[in-house]
Symmetry: C2
Subunit: 396 residues, 2 copies
Amino acid sequence: MKINRNFDNLVPNYLFADVAKKTNAYIAAHPDKKVIKLGIGDVTLPLAPVVVEAMKKGAEDLAHKETFKGYPDYEGYEFLRQAISDYYKSFGVAVGADEIFVSDGAKSDCGNIGDIFSKDNIVLVTDPVYPVYVDSNIMAGREIVYAASNEANGFAALPDENVKADIIYLCSPNNPTGSAYNAEQLKTWVDYALKNDAIILYDSAYEAFITEDLPRSIFAIEGARKCAIEMCSLSKTAGFTGTRCGYTVIPKELERDGHNIYATWYRRQATKFNGVSWPVQCAAAAVFSEEGQKQIKENISYYQENARIIASALDELGIYYTGGKNSPYIWLKCPNNMGSWEFFDLLLNEANVVGTPGEGFGENGAGYFRLTSFGDRENTIEAVERIKKVLTNLSK
Amino acid sequence: MKINRNFDNLVPNYLFADVAKKTNAYIAAHPDKKVIKLGIGDVTLPLAPVVVEAMKKGAEDLAHKETFKGYPDYEGYEFLRQAISDYYKSFGVAVGADEIFVSDGAKSDCGNIGDIFSKDNIVLVTDPVYPVYVDSNIMAGREIVYAASNEANGFAALPDENVKADIIYLCSPNNPTGSAYNAEQLKTWVDYALKNDAIILYDSAYEAFITEDLPRSIFAIEGARKCAIEMCSLSKTAGFTGTRCGYTVIPKELERDGHNIYATWYRRQATKFNGVSWPVQCAAAAVFSEEGQKQIKENISYYQENARIIASALDELGIYYTGGKNSPYIWLKCPNNMGSWEFFDLLLNEANVVGTPGEGFGENGAGYFRLTSFGDRENTIEAVERIKKVLTNLSK
């Protein structure tokens, strides 16, 4: 009985555990201080009312024989897939309802999609990176190459023609750097993928935060239907982190190595997944209704205003950052060439503000720091004032 | 860019598609006939009232900032894991709340658990078999060996000391054969696994249908904590096929090949899964409440009575079968040495009753047929009367 030895190659990531440990130790030692957490990667605002009503109605359906629902379709109910297709249409992207798979979240799909690919593929990720892309491929035994996101490219890595890759993970707007690709940049990735016969796995979980004229889907780019799969989620769009629903788009014409990718993923899902809960699919469909869109946009605007408040303080202080616009994340360069953890300690001890050290997301994160906009407005304002005070004193 | 070529080794199973095609053709040709489906593998009774109320309350929690829930724990909320642990205790099995992983269903866990095992393991399944065990291991490239369930062993295969296996899938009460292992039989499997340093993956999805003095968990057997993982589901227990919730139990002391299995699975789930929806976990916990147990048992009794009605007709007719007791399935030998599809056609054309040909579940299913108890009482009675009439005429 042999274990998958690739698990031995996983590097334990204690980032959030260490953040929690240091934070809790500080709070225990200073019970009188009010510590504000701007490191939080989870949403805090409640679900939109119309979404909750739809979920309750879905629950009520299950209480009566006439409306009871058994096993759902593996790919999701048609009414939800059609609503997602219409949503894409609302920003000018054509995706068929029959190209959509509904799932319990983008993380599951990002991780499980590897099942359909050979282990003999080279995987490219941008660094800093959302750890799931790396760890799920280490588990599968694949070779991983890194494209550096850094100040020179605005933390939005572009392809290197000299690097060969078969599977490319892109996340835009990016977690953790908040940077978002424009159409021209994305086109270089699509061209690179087509030239290399590669597939792009495009994580668009933060597309709802885009405010400027930037692509909200890889399928806004010419050629993408021949080289890309897109994963999206309602977690940040509509506060579904605890409700669990996402979706993956696979163009019907996408083929590789003699296989139709849609059909292959369908076979995988039919074998190892049994669809998404009925009340959750009802709730998800309500997100895409006219009223639902109006209500979720209020929440998104709230987070966006938090991000703007943080970003303008950094502007005032003259600190380099990416994100803040088009993203709930603000990725900043630690002042005075401080290391990520050095800056973490400074903010915790002097401003009583908690953020996330960038080096936890990859080597290009060293010397950087992530703040998020998912907190309270009042706390965000107070945290920013404290940060400004500490950093102003620092530069004196 | 290479596809996982193991997908080429999957054998397309058109069983249910072919059943639907033949049934629909018959209905189209005979619009006046009332066709009754006893092939259905999905539940039909609504959720218990207390479960629906808990789900609605969970949905309402998400509507307010004070009670909102974000990312759930990967392994499930403690209150639900404790409720499951207490449920085990109610039939005399000690399983810690900290040994339980809550998931979106047993099928996901049965399929995904393979991630933590090397592809160089030999997998043993009993035949006839639930196709997920086979297909998920073909996708992973593992060698599969089959243990024959047949009339000689009451469709409850026992280990063959001459066969070497590393991973053993057992399902009891069994889908599709309805047979259930007794403690002595399960002990032979546990002993075999311990001797071979193998792991048993025990699917107990139908344990709630057990009425006789039979083990409801592999962990009722001495030694199982050193060689077994158990997967269970609320799909058939509480009508959760459309609600989606299951659980997997991994004893903390289970080790193989230098790895702790609980820790390895936790790492897999933390990387590729984001937990189960809050309202669904609330609903699941209600299943295990005193009132919930009372209410779900009414539904189970309803199905059990259907099974009894089918089984006693077969007794009258002198037809060999397994299941019917301790299981929602009745697995019968086609009379007059008919083939599975021959018998299917006879029942469809002469009795207007639809069942499932056994050969779709593996070679030992040839000449057998599956009926299920998940239909209406009235229809079940009518179907049974028609079957009796057709088979009585046949033997004349």
